[in-house]
Amino acid sequence: MSNEIEAIKDPGLPAHVHRRADTDPKAAKKAERQVAILFLLSALGTVTMIGSYIFIPQDIFIFFPVLGNTNAHQLFLGLGMAASLFFIGMGAIHWAKTLMPDEEVVIQRHEFRSPDEDRADFVATAKAGAAAAGLGRRSLIKRSLGLSLGLAGLSPLILLRDLGPLPKDELSKTSWKAGTRLVTDPGDRPIRAEDLEVGAVAQTLPEIAKGGHRALSDIGKDAVLLIRLRPEEFNLDAERLSWTHEGIIAFSKICSHMGCAVALYEQQTKHLLCPCHQSTFDVTRAAKVIFGPAARPLPQLAITVDSEGYLIAKQPFTEPVGPSFWERSS
């Protein structure tokens, strides 16, 4: 750098210090033995591994402190493998360190920058090539080539179109219709209002025809949580109150934030917590968000009972369930 200040001098590479093994044949012999022992340990590991594979049944468990009651087959297979590999490495490194030449070598770096001559030649060649092709002059060719390359690049995207159907209104629909019974998940049993005590919850799904199949993508939209409170504990407007039945309130279980199942209900505080991102919803106020990243309440399902006293949906969800998406209007 700047020459006006005199820097401290580089004393140069320190003198090489010989290892014991370089000067003392005994030490060298000892190092050799150590390397051999390490390699033999590896062989022992491989034998352990093969032996464990063949002779230790998969249903034997042995106790080890810290690990607990551990599957012996898996443990010894793994430990054998670990030893067989680890000690090869240790042996090789120990060998390199103690017996291979350890004089440090100095080589010079080459400069990456090409000589000016070459650079000038390169530029000239490139220019000459471009001029010969006439790309600069023939703008029609240039533009049409650009167009065709661009379009050709787009075509793979077109080919990906059939990866899936268009969403249409799928994200806004669920299987719930007016009159759909709520059934237990799992078990598929219809539920009467009196089946739930105050403070009780039930995980529910819409009833399906006997022998019908419930796809996971249906559960992903249809899962509903039933909660029974004392009716006087609600703090709802008249419409939302009319969506409840004798203190039973139903919410979509699919988080309005990122779609995890929100089913963590605290009976005393009447709060619902999503274990994924800790959005907290107040059940008494129609699942209003009181903490965490969720921006919308959980959609409420209007419920009532049918002639046999079973809980049914009064109407479908009035808004899309689950996480937000661009086309969502509220």
């Binding site: 290892r19 468990f61 009651n69 490495g89 403070g199 009780a200 039930a202 995980q203 605290e266 274990p275």
Partner: protein, 263 residues
């Protein structure tokens, strides 16, 4: 394939190494503490209720009120039933040691007989869920672990974690671990909904299904370490911690040795 299916019942000895029995340890003593369900005479019953009342007045009434009607800091116990008392007192949650966020499991203050008396007294105030009898709790016979697992994951895992290790609730409350809990108490918790826990009614989760849940919990509890140290069975957090400490620690240690000049 079949080899593995037997592992839960297997007691085997590995050569050269101390071998432990696996499975049924947790379950053998679990039924031992179950409350008696033999019918007792009316006189005996009223004596029990009396004893319970005395215990209640001494140990509980300062918070729950002289007639268990509740107070500013403690709820009314009228109608909570014997099951609730048995759960809260026999697991040591009540009496509470301090008025912290939530009562936790600890060594019970009252012995079995006293718990029974307290339960009888509270049950005499108003009807409520009863302590399940031994015959109701034969989960080994009446339960199915696989079905129980499915029920557990739908109804319990969101608070108690996939392996029943417990988890965090809001404001410092937590769902405790369900490991090592007596089947009777698990059952009582489901029907009474203690503290933050909601009630799981018999119609939405039938008694048979509850036994399945217990059977699965007991299976999870007794499950040996199939793949080595369980790391608390809490998922990727401890795995990440181990990789940054032990994993990288070992590798960097070897790297330092590798680059050191031999003497």
């Amino acid at each position: 394939m079949k080899r593995l299916s037997r592992f839960r019942r297997h007691r085997a000895v590995a050569p050269l190494l101390l071998v432990l029995a696996l499975f049924s340890i947790g379950t053998t003593f679990s039924v031992a503490g179950a409350a008696t369900s033999t019918p007792i005479s009316a006189a005996e019953k009223s004596a029990l209720i009396d004893e319970g009342k005395q215990l209640f007045l001494k140990g509980c009434s300062s918070c729950h009120g002289l007639n268990a009607e509740g107070g500013g800091i403690a709820p009314s116990l009228i109608g909570v039933g014997a099951a609730s008392v048995d759960f809260q007192v026999a697991t040591g949650r009540m009496p509470m040691a301090d008025m912290s966020t939530q009562a936790m499991r600890k060594k019970p203050v009252y012995n079995e007989k006293q718990v029974e008396a307290l339960a009888a007294y509270v049950a005499s105030l108003a009807p409520g869920p009863e302590v399940p009898g031994e015959s109701q709790l034969n989960y080994e016979r009446d339960g199915s672990a696989a079905q129980g697992g499915e029920l557990f994951r739908t109804n319990c895992a969101m608070c108690h974690n996939f392996a029943g290790q417990g988890g965090a609730l809001t404001q410092g409350k937590y769902a405790p671990s369900v490991m090592g809990v007596e089947p009777r108490h698990i059952y009582e918790a489901m029907i009474t909904g203690p503290q933050s826990m909601p009630v799981f009614s018999d119609k939405t989760i039938t008694p048979a299904e509850k036994l399945s849940i217990i059977k699965w919990i007991k299976a999870a509890e007794a499950e040996p370490q199939l793949g080595g140290a369980a790391l608390g069975r809490v998922g990727p957090v401890t795995e990440g911690l181990l990789v940054w400490t032990l994993g990288l620690g070992l590798l960097v240690g070897v790297a330092v040795w590798l680059a050191m000049k031999a003497r």
